[in-house]
Symmetry: C2
Subunit: 112 residues, 2 copies
Amino acid sequence: MENSYRADLLRGNTDLMLLFLIDQMKETYGYEIIKEIERRSKGYFRFKEGTVYPALHKLERNGLLKGEWKKRRGEQERRYYSITERGREVLLRKLGMWEDFSRAVGLIFGNA
Amino acid sequence: MENSYRADLLRGNTDLMLLFLIDQMKETYGYEIIKEIERRSKGYFRFKEGTVYPALHKLERNGLLKGEWKKRRGEQERRYYSITERGREVLLRKLGMWEDFSRAVGLIFGNA
DNA sequence: TGTCTATATATAGACAGGCTATGTATTTTG
DNA sequence: CAAAATACATAGCCTGTCTATATATAGACA
């Protein structure tokens, strides 16, 4: 009933947060995004790999992100992502929709 | 990609809003809840029957709501719901979790 | 008379995103 | 030398929302 409430709340907002961070950080990679979101949210968000990597793949597949493998001598390579023009458009739209949504929820609860 | 973003945002919050309204209105029924949520949110939320009725059934099945058929001479009967003790506990918990969640999202976006 | 809208509820099946679990590989820490 | 951290990947499960359809009545409108 409530165990996975956070997973439900997350739904949809994962894309928004990924796009937001990648836009702001210019270029970053999956693992770093997970840590950065945890850091910024003071430990509230602890994204699962099974959530983030498939989401990044989908965003790239849809042309909202551009990914690039970067070899690092000896170490495991990373896939760095940057946002595309189309990605930035979607980001702005989603940001607005999140604001509208949370404002509407506030109206239900009677928050001035 | 974005068509059903609102449906995603809604996920999880439907229960919260239903419990909140039923608690506040003491006793109400599905159709009225749909209209009241639309009214309060100034048209933002337009809950679908296929969302609300199954959700009410689940909440009752789990003991968070108590439902009761009320016949009205000649007219179609309504199923009136009221919140249970357990429902009120879950409501308070979910309300807090929604606040935590939206605050955490704000942290990601750098909102003071 | 027939059709449409509003009121009021119900449900089967589709859809899709997040999670669990598991796997690979390397480096660092204890 | 084992464990933890870094870094990525994916198959399959779970579940809430939506679409579509169904039933039933009342009132409007033509």
